[in-house]
């Protein structure tokens, strides 16, 4: 009895947030002289309206699942990982490198090796801000943002020089294609469907993260540190160590987001492929209320928006950027459920208005060092 009511309450705010955001997006489109009908028709056709669009949506959903899980896991540990963008970038670079530079390894082993490289390098990149936070008190928000710019610049350097495809026919900055033995097979035999096994791995990853958080000692420590670092310290949990571990795992998940696009979708890496994934991932995690299973539908929504926006721009000439406005609006309404309640004159119980980040308040830890 209480079960389905809880589900309903958990759903009502995100659903109304999405609807409201799309409505405001429609007003913006109309005000700037676009055709709302054509725009949203394109958005629908390009996202869920046709079998091929659904396949494309699932392709775009995959990195959002991993990125969203990365942010959500960090949230649970009381950390705001804005560095997903950079971790995705270095993860994709590492996977691409192992994919094209290592040869002579047979199919599944090479693929696993390539994915592992993305996980490990993304994890190391994520561990840096964790380490700095734990041992110097540097706030992870600033360090992760700075590392984003570092990663993007390093990628731009590597892709334009040392890691650039040697093939003289390739003019733009991208890596050589990964070998056949490192490619993730498509899910369906028909080549017009690009959906690959990454989406299945994404579902598995959500289960693993849920299991880690709810069923293991480490997960308990993570949640305790996130909810109250002082209590965690008093209970004998090493806050510093947990911080580093959370950020490493979070970075690893982000690295996989980039890695799967390389081995499953493009088979090489160019920086533009993953641009913007990081900030979208934050919205995915918040919309999913930092719950591993909540991340799945919100990643699907963002995958649909990403996949549909291209068709929207083609049909209606409305710039793709409007989707970003809609996403920001969704985020506003999810973060401030009071607004939704007020707009729709709803009477909601307290749990429906719980903050999207769970028990964690980031603002309060601003600039304060762990001692």
């Amino acid at each position: 009895m209480a079960g389905w009511r809880a589900w309903l309450y958990a759903l009502i705010v995100p659903v109304l947030a999405v609807i409201t955001a799309l409505a405001i997006g429609a007003v913006v489109i109309a005000l700037t002289g676009g055709s709302v009908l054509k725009a949203y028709q394109g958005l629908w056709e390009g996202s869920f309206g046709q079998p091929r669009s659904i396949s494309n949506t699932l392709v775009r959903t995959t990195p959002y699942i991993f990125g969203g899980l990365a942010v959500a896991l960090a949230f649970k540990g009381g950390l705001f990982n804005i560095g997903v963008e950079g971790q995705i970038t270095v993860g994709a670079l590492a996977t691409a490198f192992v994919g094209y530079a290592v040869s002579g390894v047979p199919f599944p082993a090479h693929l696993i090796l390539a994915l592992l490289a993305g996980f490990v390098v993304g994890g190391l990149w994520g561990a840096i801000p964790g380490f700095l936070k734990a041992y110097t008190g540097a706030h992870e928000v600033i360090v992760t943002i700075m590392l984003n710019y570092v990663a993007i610049n390093v990628a731009s350097y590597l892709l334009g020089g040392p890691m650039k495809d040697r093939n003289p026919a390739v003019a733009i900055a991208q890596t050589a294609p990964v070998l056949q033995s490192a490619r993730l097979p498509p899910l369906l035999p028909d080549p017009q469907y690009r959906v690959h096994w990454g989406i299945v791995l994404g579902l598995l990853a959500a289960v693993v993260v849920w299991w880690l958080l709810q069923k293991t000692t480490l997960g308990f420590e993570i949640r305790t540190v996130g909810a109250n670092p002082n209590a965690a310290r008093y209970a004998g949990i090493s806050v510093g160590r947990t911080t580093v571990v959370v950020m490493a795992l979070s970075g690893g998940l982000a690295g996989l987001a980039g890695a799967l696009d390389v081995v499953g979708l493009n088979y090489y890496y160019a920086a533009a492929f993953t641009a913007g994934y990081g900030f979208d991932s934050i919205a995915v995690a918040l919309l999913g209320r930092s719950n591993p299973f909540g991340v799945l539908p919100s990643a699907l929504l963002f995958g649909g928006l990403a996949s549909g926006s291209a068709r929207m721009q083609f049909l209606s000439q409305i710039p793709i950027d409007i989707i970003q406005v809609v996403q920001a609006l969704i985020l506003i309404f999810v973060a401030a459920p009071t607004m939704i309640r007020w707009l729709y004159r709803l009477r909601l119980p307290r749990e429906a208005e719980a903050p999207a980040t769970g028990d964690v308040q980031f603002g309060a830890s601003w600039g304060k060092a762990e001692t």
Binding site: V28, T32, G33, G34, F80, I82, L132, T136, G137, A138, H139, V141, I142, V143, I145, M146, L147, N148, Y149, V150, N153, V154, S156, Y157, G160, G161, F279, I282, A283, L286, I318, P319, D321, I322, I323, Q324, V325, V326, Q327, A328, L329, L331, I332, A335, A336, T338, M339, P355, A356, T357, Q361, F362, G363, A364, S365, W366, G367, K368, A369
Partner: protein, 346 residues
Amino acid sequence: MTLNAAAMARVGSTGQLRLWLQVAVWSSIGIVLLVLTGVQFGPAATLSILTVTITQATPITFGALTGICSERTGVVNIGIEGMLLTAAFFGFMVGVYTHNPLLALGAAIVSSALMALLHAVLSITFRVDQIISGTVINILAVGITGYLNRQLFTAGAPPGLAAFPRLNVPGLSDLPWIGPILFQQKPLALTAIVLVFVVHFTLFRTRWGLRTRAVGEHPLAADTVGVNVYRQRYINVVIGGAIAGLGGAFFTLESVPHFEPLMTNGIGFIGLAAMIVGKWTPFGAWGAALLFGVAEAIPVAMQIQGINVPYQLVSLLPYLLTIVVVAGVVGRATPPAADGQPYIRQ
């Protein structure tokens, strides 16, 4: 009681001492570097590094002052980047259509202040986590500016944007060294420096500043003695937004006369770091902004000198420096006590 006061005074003076020690260390490092470049490449190189430093420090200084206004009153602001970007675009847009730099500047200030108002509404009234509210501002800014830029200027912006000219302050600009470094800058660069003094004075020498700091340290106490916490926070956050408007205008009306998506490139976050490094004080933040300015000036100077290093690697310098400085300093920096905490009136 007196014992307590004495203890506090002692803590204060060692903190002060440590701050000055840091200032001394950093500035001597800077002076040594400048002398070395002077010896290596001639005094003209040093002069150009210093001039470019002041220029590059401008938006960082504005960003840091935005953060100070907001955080001194207890509202964390990581939306500075988005405010800068918004202001850069709307300043550009109005400048292109009206050919009037002052109207353009006004548009930049108002648009950024409106973004700040949104941040205030979300974080003060709706008590959204302030870091998330700031993230919303950043994403929204990218979306709005990208959308309007493509919608309005797909075929390129019409020409005739009126940008700010270089100033020549009579008398002062002819001074050796100081003249070219400080008084041949463009107007916003000088405004930033003046604003550092203004914000310092307001914050530490006026009733408004005292109330602001009281609200940032202990809102309940401030409320008890009759300060309107919400009003104080709202106004400070919006004023901060207006200052970010000046910083945004720097990009399109003073630095380069055109708009590019994402052109603020992390400067807002670097400004935020400057605020932290400067321990939430205008002068400290300005010093840090100058440090980051040097980090941006050196690559420019290297290019002028024809030193061939991949630009992507040289341009890492400010970001790496930010990490090093934040990691080295922030452990000892103390934000306003109520920073980041929503206030709920009893």
